[in-house]
């Protein structure tokens, strides 16, 4: 009787997901598999094999993998330090790392543009110190930096949650049974934090894969990621069918990473 009541409570969510998730999804798929005249076609989807498109996709995957890796390498030790070394006030410190999330991401990205520009903040300081200038703007490192900075909180949050949820006595028990810090990490902390790591990876990987804003602003339009290609198809070429076709391809990648997450979520440790 309780569950039928709960079903009513879920109805706003069902309406929401129908209106804003399911219907748009169907529309994307409809455009992807039809041409301008509404006839069934696979050419929009198969357009991925063109050199520009496949290059943009491969580049996107590489950028996303590298950005995700960096986020993990930064976030994981940080969370370990926050939960084990600095026990008091660690939630405050983690807040500081999550705080940028509350700022508009466009604003943050423009801020980086200002900092990295040829005559930007960094080069201003370098010139003042009589040091050679430092140009990474409009180059891959700038885009990577933007991705890492923008998406780091999405890694910190789940990893911090899973690491801080590990019972202190479980760690003590491992030490008690003879494990040194390394053993404790490999056998206890890492496997118990894996669900958080996996969801952190998807939460960074997916937006990195689809972003076009960061590559636009920090890449100066010179580096095309798959997101930029799709954006151009929609806005400059007004070719909704072609844009939807590539979006559908991109979705396959996202669905795969979701499946990986779901698999590990089911193995989540309560």
């Amino acid at each position: 009787m309780n569950s039928s009541k709960n079903r009513y409570l879920a109805s706003p969510y069902l309406i929401w997901s129908a209106g804003f998730i399911i219907i748009p999804l169907i529309m994307v798929l409809y455009y992807a598999f039809t041409d301008y005249d509404g006839r069934l076609t696979f050419s929009n989807v198969s357009a991925i094999i063109y050199y520009v498109n496949i290059k943009a996709l491969v580049l996107s995957v590489i950028f996303s993998v590298v950005a995700t890796l960096f986020c993990l390498l930064i976030a994981y030790p940080l969370c370990l330090i926050l939960t084990t070394v600095i026990k008091n006030g660690s939630s405050f410190l983690s807040l500081i790392f999550i705080l940028p999330m509350w700022m508009n991401s466009l604003l943050r990205t423009y801020a980086w543009q200002n900092i990295l520009e040829r005559k930007g903040v960094i080069n201003g300081i370098l010139a003042f110190l009589n040091l050679p200038p430092f140009y990474i703007i409009n180059k891959p490192p700038a885009i990577l930096l933007g991705m890492i900075y923008d998406f780091l909180p999405f890694m910190v949050l789940p990893v911090y949650n899973s690491v801080s949820r590990i019972d202190k006595d479980i760690l003590n028990a491992a030490r008690d049974l003879g494990a040194d810090s390394f053993d404790t990490f490999v056998r206890i902390i890492w496997p118990l934090s894996l669900p958080g790591v996996i969801s952190g990876i998807t939460m960074v990987f997916v937006p990195s894969l689809t972003t076009f804003v960061i590559s636009d602003i920090l890449g100066g339009g010179k580096i095309l990621l798959i997101g930029n290609v799709i954006e151009q198809l929609f806005t400059q070429d007004s070719d909704w069918n072609a844009g939807a076709g590539l979006s559908a391809i991109l979705m396959i990648f996202i669905v795969i990473s979701m499946f990986v997450t779901a698999k590990y979520d089911r193995e989540d440790i309560k």
Binding site: D167, D169, I170, N172, A173, A174, R175, D176, L177, G178, A179, D180, D183, R187, I188, P191, L192, I269, K270
Partner: protein, 357 residues
Amino acid sequence: MSNKLIDLQHITKSYSGNTVLDDLCLYIRENEFLTLLGPSGCGKTTTLRIIGGFETPDSGQVLFEGKDITALPPNKREVNTVFQKYALFPHMTIADNIAFGLKIRKKSSAYIKDKIKYALKLVNLDGFEDRMPDSLSGGQQQRIAIARAIVNEPKVLLLDEPLGALDLKLRQDMQYELIRLKNELGITFIYVTHDQEEALTMSDTIVVMNQGYIQQIGSPVNIYNEPENAFVADFIGDSNIIEGVMIRDELVEILGARFDCVDKGFGENNPVDVVIRPEDIDLLGPGEGALDGVVTDTIFKGVHYEMCVMSRGFEFVVHSTDYYPVDSKVSISVHPFDIQIMHKPESEDEKAVEIDE
């Protein structure tokens, strides 16, 4: 039961200015079953954690077989702990949980397999190898925690309220099982509980603690029959603690009536505390005993009746197999050797007794 296996010397520990243990001295002999008993927050767990190596004392030393191990990390100590909340590794099977310490020590897989089987048999959980911890009941998890600790053949097993989460029946079963285990394995047990009955049933030695001070160390019989102060008397079993005056050796005055007793050396006309166990009070007809009174309350407790008797403004708790209805007029009589005389607290240590009440 010969030499000191663990020796705690002048241990002091405080958390942000709040002193939890103050100059604690305590030793544990080989093969002893020693219980730390005391109310919540008295520092039992802290003492255990210092022995286990999870906390460092602010001052003082921990000696193990005469060697100073105060700064040794837990993984280097020949001590294993059974944690209050089991602390099983949730991502490992029961077999992997038990094997954890052995794998760290790089034992052969045949040896590990044998040990797992042996340990599971010992705790009566054969066939649980492939189960996950969260599929076990509290009592079963508890036994796995014990199995996980003992396969490492520690010299000392530390147990922090291991039966706290279990129901009465299971707790009693586990008490017997623990004693059986201890006898089979011949390890030293340091056991923490706040359940006085459990302490009296299981221990060779009981250490009664309050507010970071040791109140009394002794055998269960000794602690029960001869509590050294009002705190111990009150904490161990029900008791009547009455202010009295020691008239002279072997004569004490309580509530204006004089009682013969067997205690000496408390001086003359000195104020003392007098402890009388509820089961040591005999109820007689009015005028026959030393103090007259009226029954104000009677509860049937199964084995006996628990009655309250009001006499000269003091309410005695009495356990008796004879039934007296409420409002009966009775009198109280006590055998001289059932009267326990205690000094009034004087020192700082003993004052801890009072604050807690």
